[in-house]
Symmetry: C2
Subunit: 282 residues, 2 copies
């Protein structure tokens, strides 16, 4: 049986880290939902924009796998760049899409958690003041519509870099949103907050970079696994990310990646056949 996790929020949940900056995570036991079916996860998982890249879900899944040696995990990508809480209103397009995808996944898995990262687009013109109440309505509705009243809800904080960069004027209330997310975790059942302290951004000072997203995912997993908020960056997160990324691939996984490289035109037919022969010899 697959344990599945719903990915909802805006661009930093979808992921905007650059693929070139981290090692690939590829594990047959980690799936993603595409067109209503499971396939082995590759990144970008949540293809909401042409800029989609590395998010936190892959290393979350990798950390989950370290605690579930024979288990399978499935990710349900529904995050959408630039979306505000109003864009996530109950009955709206994003909400309805996420409910549809999650219900499709529930036919083939146990929905086990909701991973949320959102708030940049509620960090100005007074929106932060109503963040808690609006979020409460949305999370309640997800739990009710999906029939999972006690499902863990894990929300990460916004990055401290937001007010610095090119788009900084739009994030003056980011700290108030972070306080609302923390308060939500403190006051609502099975809700946990994950600090973004120490995490870094791309050159846009808007999106977590790939290395930071890898760390963030392990923090999300710690919150899920320990059933508590993570307020201080864990000491061992770099080590944990390395363990996840350096996991040895099985011959079947090596073969699948070679077939992908071939189909994508990155290696020639003779390279493919040579590499496959080497795998089969081992």
């Amino acid at each position: 049986m697959i344990n599945s996790f719903l990915m909802v929020g805006q661009s930093n949940m979808a992921g905007r880290g650059y693929l070139k900056d981290v090692k690939q995570i590829y594990d047959e036991h980690i799936k993603m939902l595409i067109n209503g079916r499971w396939q082995t996860m590759t990144e970008p998982i949540n293809f909401d924009r042409p800029t989609a890249g590395i998010g936190l879900a892959a290393s979350f899944a990798g950390a989950w796998r370290l605690k579930n040696e024979n288990g399978q995990i499935g990710l349900i990508p529904c995050a959408d760049g630039g979306s505000s809480l109003d864009d996530w209103e109950v009955g709206g397009a994003l909400f309805e899409n996420a409910v549809f995808q999650a219900k499709a996944a529930q036919r083939m898995s146990t929905l086990s958690g909701i991973l949320w990262h959102q708030g940049e687009n509620d960090s100005f013109v007074g929106r932060s003041a109503v963040y808690y109440d609006k979020l409460d309505v949305i999370v309640d509705a997800f739990r009710r519509e999906l029939g999972v009243p006690d499902i863990p809800f894990i929300a990460g904080g916004l990055g401290d870099f937001l007010t610095r960069g090119r788009y900084g004027q739009y994030f003056t209330e980011y700290n108030a949103v972070n306080q609302s997310l923390q308060k939500f975790a403190e006051t609502r059942p099975n809700a946990y907050f994950v600090t973004a302290a120490g995490l870094k951004a791309n050159q846009d000072d808007l999106h977590f970079d790939a290395v930071s997203q890898r760390k963030f995912g392990t923090r999300y997993f710690e919150a899920f696994f320990e059933k508590r908020s993570v307020m201080i960056p864990p000491d061992n997160e770099n080590e944990l990310v390395n363990i996840i990324q350096d996991r040895a691939l099985t011959p079947k996984e090596q073969t699948a990646l070679l077939e992908i490289s071939f189909a994508a035109g990155k290696i020639s037919l003779s390279d493919l056949e040579g590499e496959l022969a080497l795998i089969n010899i081992k």
Copy 2:
């Protein structure tokens, strides 16, 4: 109002052409449905696999735009690599996903056509013999569930290269599938066949290359526009593809592409600002 088109089938509808082999098509009036909302189309449109690339839908939309100067077109990507007709059975995951996405699009557009390319995975072990009947059930169900009984259904042929390559043994009946698709167009209302004659493949002899997909899209549009099957490659298709690809970008489109390049880490902040200044001067 947007005229929308449902993209269904397997990998050659999703698209596996290499992005580097053709010029980008970017036009604010061409949209794609992601997470239940429209956004300006970029390729890959139909992100079903890590190998997703150039398909036929972008140049189909570009050709549509040449005949609809002020119109907007929306693409609904639901194709899934390697899927057989059995995978598309009514009530199955792929069918239900496509119906959900098309209904979401119908709230914001007029569903105007179904673009189909599929059959490679029904080209062996006798499957081709039941292709017509199985397809008939699926197309009927789409038309009925979406409330569009007369909607044009456009299906392209399978490539003549299929039996040649690394995977050739799986496509021995590809010609029988092509005959079934032609018969379908001849005998069923508002159904059209589009020849794949002359189109070429990637090194895998499995997927149409990007240049061929561009041509294929204009053939699909000719079938849609003329309401007849296209049995012979049009003489002017290269010229038509060039016109579509060489369309001058508006300043707003140039700005959007620069913002994407910046967010993706392909250009620096100073490059972005320099380029934006040049656009604003013009």
